[in-house]
């Protein structure tokens, strides 16, 4: 169907372990609604999140310690949960590392 939203999801530094250990995937979201990061997170929880959800989501946002990047830019610069997804956007989820 035309008008479907195609975006790329990427996971880094261990965040992929919660999503079948797949680091990069293309997904297609139906054009039936306006897609923001907020409902993308919900969609992810319902469709592709495999391990304990609390390790990824707390309330309606990501848990502390996960950075969200939209096209390589911190989502805080772009409206966070309210950012409206565009065709071919790249959304990257990074777990913060603490080891040394």
């Amino acid at each position: 169907m035309t008008g479907d939203l195609k975006i790329v999801l990427e996971f880094s530094a261990g965040a992929e372990l919660l999503f079948d250990n797949i680091k990069k995937r293309e997904i297609t979201l139906p054009s039936t609604e306006k897609w923001t990061i907020r409902n993308l997170l919900k969609w992810m929880k319902e469709n592709i999140l495999r391990e304990r959800p609390e390790l990824f989501i707390q309330g309606d946002t990501v848990r502390p310690g996960i950075l969200v990047l939209i096209n390589d830019t911190d989502w805080e610069l772009l409206g966070e949960l309210d950012y409206e997804l565009q065709q071919k956007d790249n959304i990257l989820f990074i777990s913060t590392l603490h080891g040394g």
């Binding site: 502390p64 990074i94 603490h98 040394g100």
Partner: protein, 453 residues
């Protein structure tokens, strides 16, 4: 038999003798380094007196400096000015592990003036694959002392100061104050918040590196106008059960090597005002060693309501960071205690009383760990497959037999409790036990030929 005993005796004797020699050697090395330090101090004093009439030693390069640093001196953006600046800069490295070893090595080799090393810990065998300054000779020695010895061999002209302690709210400011640039080479969340807050309060740039498994991350905090601090990015600490350390998750030495070397690079750039390029402030470098991919992410600017770096901070003096994070300021695992005592077996009880009876021994470690070593009668049932209940199908037959005990085992006796707790919730009437202290206890109390890692 007699011949075997004789060989055993001789082996034991040799082992003891070698150990004694090592101890002797370590003592002599220590004495030597003390004397050398004393000598260096005397020489420096003599030099200082001599140079009072001319320029002091960090105001000019001598012939040794010129020969030693020639390959960086001829870099257009570095030059004599850069070398002198480096000589006048004091760097503090917090954590002499996988990141601290390479970063201290490059900073010192490049000719930094003064280098401070902070670590409370001692050298052990599991450090060697990534902490490349420590050697077989330094097992049991303080990491800062072992690193100092190795570093002095690389460049005897720099002053190295050892701080053998666990950095905390009481001592951090006093130590950090003595240095210009701070490198966060630590291994835990609490110390990362502590260093961040202390660096904001003292206005010191902080070069922050981290690594785990095949990934690394690097950024510079507190450098330049709009650079966010650690708290701007992470106002709330992560839940403790989402934090993995190198001891549990593993890490490849070359990964910490990459990030540690880059920390030294950024520290030098910070000291020299950018070195004609751009310091990694306000950006995060992500290294995916599995794909050998570097990625540069643009970070947010300062958080207007940041608890520590905003114009009206809530935190104006250091707090209790272990309490704030709910985690200890080390990467050592703490013993969990969540299972009722009656569901816990000691290794002796297991060996003497349970082993002969009908039971399933589930080893809940990762398959890679199970492959390293295992008890002969154990089944590998990773914790994940217990928590998501997929073990129910796998052991459908065995579980029908209600007489059969379920024994849970892991490396140190923490995950085995989580597993036992989960199984007990489903089968409250069954005999479900974990083995206290896990395979480590097995090594120490039952069979010391069983490996520990």
């Amino acid at each position: 038999m007699a011949a075997e005993t004789k060989i055993d005796d001789e082996i034991e004797k040799l082992r003891q003798e070698i150990q004694e020699l090592r101890r002797n050697c370590a003592a002599k090395e220590k004495r030597l380094s003390e004397l050398e330090a004393q000598q260096q101090k005397q020489n420096e004093q003599a030099n200082a007196q001599q140079q009072q009439t001319s320029a002091s030693s960090d105001q000019m390069l001598n012939n040794d400096d010129i020969a030693r640093y020639s390959r960086q001196l001829i870099l257009p953006n570095f030059g004599v000015k850069g070398q002198l600046k480096l000589k006048q800069t004091a760097f503090l490295i917090v954590g002499m592990g996988g990141l601290g070893c390479p970063s201290s090595q490059y900073l010192l080799a490049a000719g930094c003036g003064r280098l401070g090393l902070v670590d409370y810990d001692e050298v052990e065998r599991s450090n060697f694959h990534r902490q490349t300054l420590h050697t077989e000779m330094s097992i049991g020695m303080a990491k800062v002392e072992s690193a100092k010895q190795a570093l002095q061999q690389i460049n005897p002209h720099c002053q190295i100061e050892c701080h053998r302690l666990l950095l905390n709210s009481e001592n951090a400011l006093e130590i950090l104050r003595q240095y210009d640039v701070v490198l966060d080479c630590t291994d835990n969340v609490a110390t990362r918040y502590l260093l961040n807050d202390a660096c904001v309060m003292l206005n010191k740039p902080l070069i922050s590196g981290s690594a785990l498994q095949m990934d690394g991350q690097l950024t510079v905090y507190n450098y330049g106008e709009n650079c966010p601090c650690y708290r701007c990015l992470y106002p709330v600490p992560p839940p403790p059960d989402t934090v993995t350390n190198c001891g549990d998750g593993g890490v490849l030495g070359a990964i910490t090597g990459v990030i540690g070397s880059l920390q030294a690079l950024e520290a030098i750039k910070v000291a020299l005002g950018g070195l004609g390029g751009e310091v990694l402030a306000g950006r995060l470098l992500i290294f995916d060693g599995g794909r050998c991919q570097f990625r540069n992410i643009r970070l947010r600017s300062k958080r207007a309501d940041c608890d520590v770096c905003s114009p009206k901070p809530m935190i104006t003096q250091l707090i209790d960071y272990e309490q704030f994070c709910g985690m200890h300021a080390s990467d050592k695992d703490m013993a969990l205690n969540i299972l009722p005592l009656e569901n816990r077996l000691t290794v002796e009880e297991y060996k003497n009383e349970v082993l002969q009876r009908k039971h399933i021994l589930m080893d809940v470690r990762q398959p890679a760990e199970f492959e390293i070593c295992r008890l002969p009668n154990s089944e590998n049932v990773p914790l994940k497959t217990i928590l998501n209940d997929s073990y129910l199908q796998r052991f459908e037959e065995e579980l029908k037999d209600e007489e059969r005990g379920i024994i849970l085992l892991c490396r140190r006796g923490n995950d085995s409790q989580l597993a036992a707790q989960h199984i007990l919730q489903r089968f409250p009437q069954r005999a479900v036990f974990d083995i206290k202290g896990g395979l480590h206890a097995w090594h120490f109390k039952i069979d010391n030929s069983f490996p520990i890692y």
